[in-house]
Amino acid sequence: MSAMLLNKEKWPDFVGKLTGKKLWAPQGKGEEMRFAPVTEGEAPALEYGNTRVPPKQAVFPQTETMFRFQLGGEEVEVPEPEEETVLLGVRPCDARSMAIVDNLFGWEEDDPYYFKRRELVTLVGLACSEPGLNCFCTSVGGGPASTEGLDLLMTDLGEHYFLEAVTEKGEALLKEAGDLLEEAGDDKVKEKDKKIEESAGKIKRSVDHEGVPESLPGLWDDPLWQSVSASCLGCGTCTYLCPTCHCFDIQDEVEGFDARRCRMWDSCMFGEYTLHTSGHNPRPTRRERTRNRINHKYSYFVDKFDVIACVGCGRCINLCPVNIDIVEILRQVKEAI
């Protein structure tokens, strides 16, 4: 892994080197920040904080056409994959979520749509120097400078960005930007390490999940599920904004004779998600749905892929309209075990 320095003054030139690829970066202000295409010729300023909607949409769009066809026809046409895309300023938690979701989409057989995009997307991460109030990545296997899932990681050192290539794609980016970069000396490496350590120290919240994956299903009938879900509105905010939530629905949509089969994000917090056609619902209330959401992230997924399906980004806590707080739920779970 090579480590380089980029003087921030040369940031626009660095971005300029990426022409020919689609560029996405967090845009907008504060709470409303979201990943959006960068206007050609512009270099996005990377700010603190994280986007409301995670960048998972770059590899798993909210709505994706799987194939098109004519009603009554027998030919299906799969849309061509899009061009190469570089995501700038991805937070380590969000990149890590993709590495986690890779497990599921690659389980026994590859999901072609997901992996096609995954190949086309380069993730340029930005280490967090100012973690958010509800960040708890350090307690679920991540960290403010975790490189898992990233191709390249940048750390803000004031005047410079400290650049570390993680994958070949990242190395290629560094090579392309070659003349803009300078070797990072040991002092800069130390400065970066110190910065990251400081940042990790600013993370206040944490979950203690020791023993949770094994014990969680055993709390099946615990009253805690009723109490933590009593106020749940049953909306999709927590799941849609979760970078590791990957559930989808498949629907055929028809306009005249033009039709397509597409998939779109779905949420386990919706009653319809598990509703049988007969009217029977194996998860009839928000209690069962909440229980499933937590079990899925902290037990079932661990069972199958040996990793917790939660990266501690805090979005579900920040944006839940009724303050359902996964850290608090895990605290109660731990207490009940």
């Binding site: 709470e31 206040k204 106020s231 509105l233 909306c235």
Partner: protein, 326 residues
């Protein structure tokens, strides 16, 4: 408001044999957060609060209950639900009663006269949230933020929520128990947000909403939080036939948002919850208030004021003006 009185009253109500639970507000898990509280026993009433952070309209829980088929031989639990309401929340209750979405004997309404809530986004922007719980109080001319034992006075206009600036009914319009004397009402502000959109040309309005609806992620938090969106079988969920496609794009998002707005015309009580919970920050309040304004101007009707009244659009009088038909 006297919190001791609130908790005492709540404990008394929650302790009654004919009460299933009482729904009120309690401190959330951190910072400024507030969480709905479902108080089933007397002790839990001690957690209840009423502060300028209690924006949530809890009336939605009256109709959000998921009823399961009863096991054989089990009697239905028809005990009452007690609900704490602000002025706007009480209008939701009144509207539900008028529509017979709930029945008067199913609910005990505990009224909290409301001097106005803070806008949680404004608050967090100006006085950044910390992990430690913070409290807010009302003062004579504004709000007081209490954090780490320190008090910061903030003028009312700096933080008052938009829905409260526009509010005409800060005192509950329906209640069984009132926790305080009515607050003095204030001159509602001009609804500039709506006027601004009205003044745009059609193209401009279209462009405005196009941008907004394109951001919608269809999480349905607006629908679910809305005390008056309580259809058992929502057209958005129907697949057979599919009225609104599941695809998330401008066209379908618009169909959804417009359908919801129209279904709320003459029913929306302007509690602003849809806008508060929207993770995409869509100014849904403007949309619903525009329709409320139309109905007020054209029909002189305001929903959620008369629990016994006839719901607009669900009643007919022979002398109804019908010039719009021709």
């Amino acid at each position: 408001m006297d919190l001791d009185k609130l908790r005492e009253t709540a404990a008394e109500v929650a302790g009654r044999d004919d009460v299933k639970y009482l729904i009120g507000w309690k401190k959330g898990s951190y910072g400024y957060r507030i969480a709905p509280a479902f108080v089933e026993d007397v002790e839990a009433a001690a957690e209840l609060i009423f502060s300028p952070l209690c924006t949530a309209n809890l009336a939605t829980y009256l109709t959000l209950v998921e009823k399961l088929p009863l096991p054989r031989g089990q009697e239905p639990d028809d005990r009452k639900v007690a609900l704490m309401v602000k002025g706007c929340d009480s209008r939701a209750v009144a509207q539900l009663l008028a529509e017979k979405g709930i029945h008067r004997d199913e609910v005990i309404v505990i009224g909290c006269p409301c001097p106005g809530m803070v806008d949680p986004d404004l608050l967090a922007e100006k006085y950044p949230e910390t992990e430690e719980p913070a409290e807010l109080k009302w003062s004579d001319d504004g709000f007081v933020i209490v954090r780490d034992g320190e008090e910061t006075a903030v003028p009312r206009d700096e933080l008052l929520a938009e829905k409260c600036r526009l509010c005409r009914y800060p005192n509950p319009v329906v209640s069984d128990i009132m926790l305080d004397d009515p607050v003095e009402t204030w001159e509602p502000a001009e609804d500039e947000g709506v006027t601004e959109i009205e003044e745009k040309e059609v193209d401009g309005r279209w462009a405005y909403w196009q941008e907004q609806f394109s951001n919608c992620i269809r999480c349905y938090s607006c629908r679910n939080v809305c005390p008056l969106c309580y259809c058992q079988d929502c057209i958005l969920d129907r697949l057979n036939p599919t009225w609104v496609n599941r695809s998330v794009n401008f066209s379908e998002n618009t169909a959804f948002n417009i359908a919801r707005a129209f279904h709320l015309a003459g029913r929306c009580i302007e509690c602003g919850e849809c806008e508060r919970v929207c993770p995409a920050n869509i100014p849904l309040g403007k949309l619903n208030r525009k329709l409320a304004r139309e109905i007020r101007d054209k029909y002189g009707f305001e929903p959620g004021l008369e629990p016994e009244g006839e719901p607009f659009q669900a009643s007919y009088k022979p002398d109804d003006p019908e010039d719009f038909i021709l």
